[in-house]
């Protein structure tokens, strides 16, 4: 198990602490790697079932926190929409051409 896995999980709090268990519980084998090309879909569905609860809970906390901040007149960070607002300014440069 990677140090990064542990640190990232600890820093991220209980919502993703379950990931430590996942990292341990998902050993890779050469045979599995071959089968993964035939059937990558089952693992994708399984992962969603495993992490969905934690990520749903994280979203609930995030929305609750945003609402709480709203009560005190502060707005939480907006979820980026189709057109993110964080536009760096560009120079009106001309080129060789």
């Amino acid at each position: 198990m990677h140090l990064g896995t542990i640190l990232a999980t600890v820093r991220s709090g209980p919502a993703v602490r379950v990931l430590i268990l996942l990292a341990v519980a998902l050993p890779a084998t050469a045979q599995a790697a071959v089968l993964a090309y035939l059937d990558p879909g089952t693992g994708s569905l399984a992962l969603q079932l495993l992490v969905g609860g934690a990520l749903g809970a994280a979203l609930t906390v995030k929305l609750f926190w945003r609402r709480l901040l709203g009560l005190f007149g502060r707005r939480g960070p907006e979820v980026p929409r189709n057109q993110p607002a964080d536009l760096p300014t560009t120079n009106d440069a001309s080129a060789d051409r």
Binding site: L7, A36, P40, G41, A57, P80, S94, A95, D96
Partner: protein, 470 residues
């Protein structure tokens, strides 16, 4: 599959989904809805999803036409979608364009979930750019979501969007090319291996790339050996869990940034061979040629940051601005987005190795020439990079350009030009035919040269040509 009506020509990339397909007849684009998709499509109509997405500019608009337009007997409805001016591929997009396409896909899935629907695929090829905005083009990608089911397109989203974006942002922008070599997106085990620690240190990449790849290996073959539980029992996946996954993916994509620096042309813009007067003279000439040609579409090759492309797009002409440098294309895209410019599409394109035909039977994704020809091709300050920088004979350049456009506005840059001198400094001058007469002879074989105007204040000449073959 029933025979397709002789007048209908099925679009090559439109075969994976049995729900329907896209075809053209008499130059008109249609999308057939097959009877097997009827129940889902009626649910989509009843949900109000389509007008909601149209309202937000996220979905290509269509009108419904009569069944007499159907391509075969499988049809239950026929749609006539608005045409996208130019079909582009993910490996050609600016980084921020790709990122916006990913966020748009997630937004569309959120909107669908709110209405009890879901996206059944999340292919990056389902997004196209119209007036600088990502637009979803596959109207038949929605289906009713069975309560408790995970997102079937989660894997495809990660392979088509998250993995390439993470590789471009966290490793190297040139890894966008992996989308060119992998028709169904970057395999997650490959992305994981290339990302290395970058996929472990970010909690979201850890889940959606690293653990996702491991889960794929862990469960490989399980689907064939076991059966999913049917009916009854607790629902395995709540809508909240699904929204949590979507929010996490949105956060993962939004956190990926790329700052152009140190790429080929990033610092090139400040070095110009033109005085202001010469630049204006060239600008006026190109503008005059465009006005005279009155093109319906323009392809600008070596467009840089799109300064000259805007002479066309600013006149309301749909214009594609290609450049080899991802930094130049990124700057162009950001400017379009910031100024809300229309009719301009910047794409990353290496003209010495243009986008090939890809996919099944080499026909799913069209090559650059297959998407043409344009009415006008601009090739300004480009010829020396191809002829001297890449040793392409002038005859071959002329022949290739003749496949790309009907008219050509091209700048000849002679050897005495300082930019050419830089190119020649590090290579032997084996370019005996590289002079104005050689250029005119080579291009004259494919084009009728209408005008050759020296650009005041420079040693360069601007040519306006018309292709000899229709």
């Amino acid at each position: 599959m029933p025979a397709v009506d002789s007048g209908a020509q099925r679009t090559a990339g439109s075969f994976r989904d049995p729900s329907g397909f896209v075809f053209t007849r008499g130059g008109v684009l249609y999308r057939q809805v097959n009877a097997c998709y009827r129940a889902d499509y009626e649910a989509v109509l009843a949900s109000g999803l389509l007008p909601a997405l149209w309202e937000r500019g996220l979905l290509v608009r269509h009108s419904e036409v009569g069944l007499e337009h159907a391509a075969d007997g499988e049809a239950c409805r026929v749609l006539q979608p608005e045409r996208v001016p130019f079909i582009s591929h993910p490996y050609e997009w600016a980084f921020s364009a790709y990122r916006d396409a990913a966020l748009a896909t997630l937004e569309i899935q959120s909107e669908a979930l709110r209405r009890g629907l879901t996206l059944k695929d999340a292919s990056a090829y389902n997004i196209q750019f119209v007036d600088g905005r990502p637009v979803f083009i596959d109207t038949l990608s929605f289906e009713r979501r069975a309560p408790g089911t995970p997102w079937g397109a989660y894997r495809q989203f990660c392979q088509h969007f998250l993995a390439p974006l993470a590789l471009m942002a966290r490793r190297d922008i040139r890894l966008a090319g992996l989308m060119c070599s992998h028709i169904d997106g970057v395999p997650l085990d490959l992305a994981d291996a290339l990302l290395g620690h970058a996929a472990r240190w970010s909690p979201r990449l850890l889940v959606h790339i690293h653990l996702h790849a491991r889960s794929q290996r862990r469960h490989a073959g399980v689907g064939a050996r076991t059966r999913a539980p049917r009916g009854g029992g607790p629902r395995p996946m709540s809508e909240l869990a699904l929204l949590g996954i979507l929010d996490s993916l949105r956060g993962a994509v939004a956190a990926l940034r790329w700052q152009p620096a140190g790429t080929e042309w990033a610092d090139y813009y400040t070095f110009t061979n033109y005085t202001d007067a010469a630049f204006e003279a060239k600008r006026a000439l190109v503008a005059r040629f465009l006005t005279e040609a009155a093109p319906r579409q323009v392809l600008d090759l070596g467009a840089n940051d799109g300064t000259f492309s805007r002479l066309a797009s600013g006149r309301g002409i749909p214009t594609v601005a290609c450049d080899i440098d991802p930094a130049a294309v990124e700057k162009n895209y950001l400017r379009i987005r910031q100024q809300r410019e229309t009719n301009l599409l910047p794409l990353v394109m290496d003209l010495t190795n243009p986008s090939p035909a890809l996919g099944w039977a080499c026909s799913e994704r069209a090559s650059l020439p297959q998407r043409g020809p344009a009415d006008v091709v601009l090739a300004l300050a480009l010829i020396h990079h191809l002829a001297i920088g890449n040793n392409v004979p002038l005859d071959d350049i002329a022949a290739f350009f003749a496949t790309l456009g009907r008219r050509l506005v091209i700048e000849f840059v002679p050897k005495q030009d300082s930019q050419v001198q830089v190119l020649l400094a590090s290579r032997k001058d084996v370019f005996d035919r590289y002079h104005a007469a050689g250029f005119e002879a080579a291009f004259g074989a494919h084009f009728a040269i209408r005008e050759a105007v020296p650009i005041a204040g420079t040693c360069r000449t601007l040519y306006a040509m018309i292709r000899r073959t229709a």
